[in-house]
Symmetry: C2
Subunit: 122 residues, 2 copies
């Protein structure tokens, strides 16, 4: 089980998943600027992620380069699973039914998903 990653921490992970390894300052520069974080904040988040073991660092001269230890897909899978458990009793169909009912599925989505399922069966 991957340790829980908070909202803020995930914003930092997204940067490293996109491109790594990176130094702390580089990460801070690339984090979604709409957050308005100081670079101290980003460094704190990097430390916490390190403590959680979801990223690792290696020395490069007098600074560290950070890189993810866990894969984004694995994290996404875990979080999706948790939502499906919590909200839909672990069944996927009710999730899709729910999305459909709430009109969260566009006709294009429906086409795409059908194509996807056809492929799965072949």
């Amino acid at each position: 089980m991957i340790e829980r990653i908070s909202e803020a921490e995930q914003a930092v992970m997204e940067v490293l998943w996109r491109d790594s390894p990176l130094g702390a300052t580089e990460v801070a520069e690339r984090v979604d600027s709409s957050r308005g974080w100081s670079d101290r904040t980003v460094k704190t988040l990097l430390s916490r992620l390190l403590a959680k073991g979801v990223i690792a660092h290696q020395e490069e001269g007098r600074r560290y380069l950070y890189r993810p230890v866990i894969k984004r897909e694995d994290y996404v899978a875990q979080e999706s699973g948790k939502l499906i458990d919590r909200m839909f009793g672990g069944r996927v169909t009710p999730l899709v039914a729910h999305l459909a009912e709430r009109d969260l599925l566009t006709p294009r989505d429906i086409e795409e998903i059908e194509a996807l399922l056809r492929e799965l069966k072949s």
Copy 2:
């Protein structure tokens, strides 16, 4: 936007969504017993939910009866939406694709979803 409901708080909401209005003690009795909560804990959670405005209470003699103010579907929709935004950039197809890739879809799921989509199109 519905106020954030924590994990523990949701366990209490589930009770009220299933049946309401209920007194605090009744809620405590019905909460998933595997949590092993004291009734104090449940009362605290009820107060917090009240403060968040997601439940309401009415007096009944010398106690309160609690009932949800928000609908479960709305809450589920919000949480699903947040996951889809955070993990899949707001697109639903990647979610389904992801579930498929991770073998989280059983053949039965696939059949059911296909049937659902056929219905949606008609």
